[in-house]
């Protein structure tokens, strides 16, 4: 569908009540939200003006069938349908597509409107495709569906909040629309029409400039392009002498024949940006394109031209490079590309971006390239530095704390240790080494009774763990529970994760919206907390409590944070009685 037809469609049709009727000839106009039928006979009463939201479906005849091209729009009111006979199938298809679009839009706005009534939170407007994608994701992932049911339907989270944390899922499938900017076709313009899409202007800035300068004032557009193609023709003759002669005669033609000054300037500018430490002379010695009989000249012919005609010579490689650069640059022109004048002006606007930053960047680059590493001052980075400190710094501050958290039974030993000086400790160690040296290895390192107890203990340990945990060493407590409990626990864990993710990401609370959200989340979490307590009372009390404990801890931490934050905010608002912004 072309862009013009998406806003408005006007077609010559016959309007019928039924397929068999001859119908009233007239004009059908479709606009965004309604369609209007005006009969050719102004006295006829068969005028129509219907909004699309009253239309519930549409049917049409298939191309190739014996039927005339018919479109049937059925109204939501019982028994009423509008049948239009078109003059051709392309007309029908255009209208059918238009109706399809309009209908989907109409249903969508109706839907969001009805949703708005129920929900007070700001909700994003969803396209039908996005809704469909979400539905599909929910259908594919039963766990997601459960979570969605639990939180969105019960109103703990809004639809958009729920999906906000799953942007990746949504992004993954929404590749249907091409996000890429449309660029130039990568085909050389050797024989194109003057200005199909401003490509000539982009490729040849000199032509562009000449066009802006000359066209309305000095010559017509037609003359301009005639000159241009005359120049192209001369180039194709490969006769540098002729070109030079023609250029001398005709000033305007010379513009096209000479080397493109703007491109050349750009090239010089680019050369200046090259790393100054790079020795271009030396590099040139490495390739041999400057030797005779190397390199391809335009259109495959090789000729050695006199130096004074150098400026009229173009090589294929130059053209290729320019083409490549323009294609990479892409199209920056928007708007109507039909009119060459528009194109020329749009291109000019897009080129006029100020370049002060680039100049500064170049200077920076040169200073950076030229400076010696050991002579320069340390550079200041604008970004925050990664401050990875000596890891000991983290820990040295509170060594005593760590001691406390260690096993309580050790405390006695630790104190005993501390009472010992370094010399004494090392002394006793050395003493024991020399003791072994003097005594030597005894015949029986281990007494047989002890060895037996150890062996028995180990065997028992192994067999008991085998009995408890099965053969799989990675098998966990979770697997030992009955399926129902296991699923319940896993589901609770998932819900807790979902809630906690939302909970922690809403801090710091800056808006009233966030604070109500956190409140709701907290309620939902305390509900799960109670449910977990109930599960703990089941038959597998011991195993379940092992698994539930970390969940409870995570929830406790959240509750604690909630309470303290609440108090903090209360204190703050008390301090500033009028400061509740």
């Amino acid at each position: 569908m072309s862009s013009s037809s998406s806003r408005r469609v006007v077609k010559r049709v016959k309007y019928k009540d039924a397929v068999k009727n001859p119908g009233t000839p007239g004009v059908l106009t479709m606009v965004e939200n309604r369609f209007v039928f005006k009969p050719n006979d102004p006295t006829s009463a068969r005028m129509l003006d219907v909004e699309f939201r009253h239309i519930k479906g549409h049917k049409n005849t298939k191309e190739g069938s014996k039927q005339p091209p018919l479109l049937n729009l059925s109204s939501s009111r019982e028994g009423i349908s509008y049948i239009f006979e078109f003059q051709s199938y392309p007309d029908l298809h255009e209208c059918r597509d238009f109706v399809g679009n309009a209908l989907s839009k109409a249903t969508e706005t109706a839907k969001t409107a009805s949703e708005r009534d129920g929900v007070t939170f700001p909700d994003e407007q969803l396209s039908a495709a996005e809704m469909e994608l979400r539905m599909k994701l929910l259908q594919e992932d039963s766990e997601l569906q459960k979570l969605h049911m639990q939180f969105v339907i019960s109103g703990v989270l809004t639809e958009s909040e729920f999906w906000a944390t799953r942007k990746k899922l949504l992004d993954g499938d929404s590749r249907t629309k091409p996000k890429q900017r449309v660029g130039f076709k990568n085909s050389m313009i050797l024989d194109t029409k003057p200005t199909s899409d401003g490509r000539i202007f982009a490729l040849k800035p000199a032509v562009h400039q000449a066009f802006l300068k000359l066209v309305p004032i000095k010559m017509t557009e037609k003359d301009f392009w005639t000159k241009y193609f005359r120049a192209e023709f001369l180039h194709s003759t490969k006769n540098a002498a002729t070109i030079a002669a023609e250029a001398a005669e005709d000033e305007e033609l010379a513009i096209f024949l000479k080397e493109d000054e703007i491109v050349a300037r750009e090239a010089r500018w680019k050369i200046r940006r090259v790393d100054p430490t790079l020795d271009m002379e030396a590099d040139q010695g490495d390739d041999y394109t400057h030797l005779p009989d190397h390199g391809i000249f335009r259109d495959g012919s090789k000729d050695i031209t006199e130096l004074q005609n150098e400026q009229y010579r173009r090589t294929l490689s130059q053209d290729l490079n320019r083409q490549g650069a323009v294609v990479l640059q892409g199209r920056t022109v928007d708007g109507d590309l039909e009119d060459p004048e528009n194109v020329a002006e749009a291109l000019m606007r897009s080129r006029q971006e100020p370049d002060e930053g680039a100049v500064q960047e170049r200077l920076d680059r040169i200073t950076r390239m030229n400076e010696m590493d050991d002579l320069r001052e340390p550079r200041d980075h604008p970004v925050a530095q990664l401050c990875i400190k000596d890891p000991r710094d983290y820990f040295d501050t509170q060594q005593a704390n760590a001691l406390k958290t260690l096993d309580d039974s050790r405390i006695g030993i630790e104190q005993k240790k501390c009472s010992m000086t370094t010399e004494e400790a090392y002394g006793s160690l050395r003493e024991s080494i020399s003791k072994i040296k003097s005594i030597g290895l005894k015949n029986s390192t281990v007494e047989s009774e002890i060895a037996l107890t150890v062996l028995n203990g180990l065997t028992q340990n192994i067999s008991s763990t085998k009995y408890q945990l099965g053969k799989n060493p990675r098998e966990s407590i979770l697997d030992s529970l009955p399926n129902r409990t296991k699923e319940e626990l896993l589901h609770h864990w998932m819900s807790i994760q979902e809630l906690l993710r939302h909970f922690w990401s809403s801090y710091p609370i800056t808006t009233a919206y966030l604070s109500t959200k956190v409140g709701k989340l907290k309620d939902a979490m305390s509900q799960i907390y109670r449910q977990l307590e109930e599960i703990k009372e089941s038959d597998f009390r011991h195993q379940v409590s092992l698994l539930v404990r970390p969940m409870h801890q995570a929830l406790d931490a959240a509750f604690q944070h909630y309470e303290s934050d609440l108090q903090k905010r209360a204190a703050r608002s008390a301090e500033m009685p009028n400061g509740n912004a």
Partner: protein, 306 residues
């Protein structure tokens, strides 16, 4: 009977790296004195070397201030008869080196630098053990002893930590890094912990690398434990049922106060662990993202994901 050639390529050749804890503060307070502990270890090392002619044992001493290689069976001259001596030559060599190491370790001690906790440099000796492994692979073709080293390369190296002193949470990052590199190079870390409570580091090390963690209930029967559990080479482990620890202490040390925590906040960018909610991550300096620090239960998360 296996022929000589097949014996050369046999799978049950092992290179055992023993990390021996020589922390004087631990041994002076231990139930099992060092003088009684060492004979168990020496007997164990001897039995490893007797199990297979190509077995290699390397002992690294884990001191309080330093670590050092104190014994390598492949460079052991093993000359001279043991007759008339009270112990084999290799044991006296080892003891000699150990004594020198202890003296050096004491000299490194700066007066007053010792405070509170007295943990050994486990991270250092773990790194040394892993470097040794790397060296063997690299030096394989450089050196002349093709046959002997071939056997070693066919080996599977294993590390045994004979640790007594408690965990030094300040070494948390370094130890975890060693553990993960051991896991990458498929070197199992066995650990025999002689201390009074369990060592979270060693539990994690053994769990992650697929080794065995054991805390002997009967310190006097240490040799029995060592020979029953840790003498098994990696090839045979496939057929054996070794003791499994019932639970692993997955707790991490927080980066801010070196406390061992079971729940904390994780920086969403660099995954640093903190015990308290901070405005700014002290490791990577992320300001804004720290507001979305997660509360996580490490143990639970790992149990779910592994």
């Amino acid at each position: 009977m296996a022929s000589a050639a097949s014996k050369l390529y046999a799978d049950d050749v092992s290179l055992l790296m023993v990390l021996l804890d020589t922390n004087p503060f631990f041994w002076s307070s231990s139930n099992l004195p060092f003088s009684k502990f060492l004979p168990h270890v020496l007997a164990f090392l001897n039995s490893i070397l007797l199990l297979n002619q190509l077995n290699q044992v390397v002992v690294i001493a884990t001191g309080y201030n330093s670590c050092s290689y104190i014994y390598d069976s492949s460079s052991d001259s093993n000359q001279g008869s043991d007759h008339g001596r009270i112990m084999p030559a290799r044991c006296s060599n080892l003891l000699q080196k150990l004594e020198e190491f202890v003296i050096k370790d004491e000299q490194l001690f700066k007066e007053g630098s010792r405070e509170g906790i007295s943990s050994s440099l486990l991270s250092g000796s773990l790194s040394m053990a892993l470097c040794f492994d790397e060296q063997i692979y690299r030096g394989f073709f450089d050196q002349g002893h093709f046959i002997l080293n071939l056997a070693v390369t066919m080996h599977a190296m294993q590390i045994l930590c004979l640790q007594g002193s408690s965990d030094g949470p300040e070494q948390y990052v370094a130890i975890m890094n060693s553990i993960f590199s051991a896991q990458r190079s498929m070197v199992p870390i066995d650990s025999c912990y002689m201390g009074s409570s369990n060592s979270a580091f060693l539990q994690q090390a053994s769990y992650i690398t697929g080794g065995v963690y054991l805390k002997p209930q009967q310190p006097n029967g240490l040799f029995q434990y060592l020979s029953t559990v840790f003498a098994t080479d990696l090839h045979s482990r496939a057929f054996l049922q070794l003791p499994k620890s019932l639970g692993v202490d997955f707790r991490a040390s927080c980066f801010c106060h070196k406390k061992t925590i079971d729940m904390g906040y994780i920086c969403s960018v660099c995954l640093s662990i903190f015990c308290k909610h901070h405005k700014k991550c002290s490791t990577c300096g992320v300001l804004k993202l720290l507001s979305v620090l997660y509360a996580l239960c490490f143990g639970w998360v790992r149990r779910i994901t592994t």
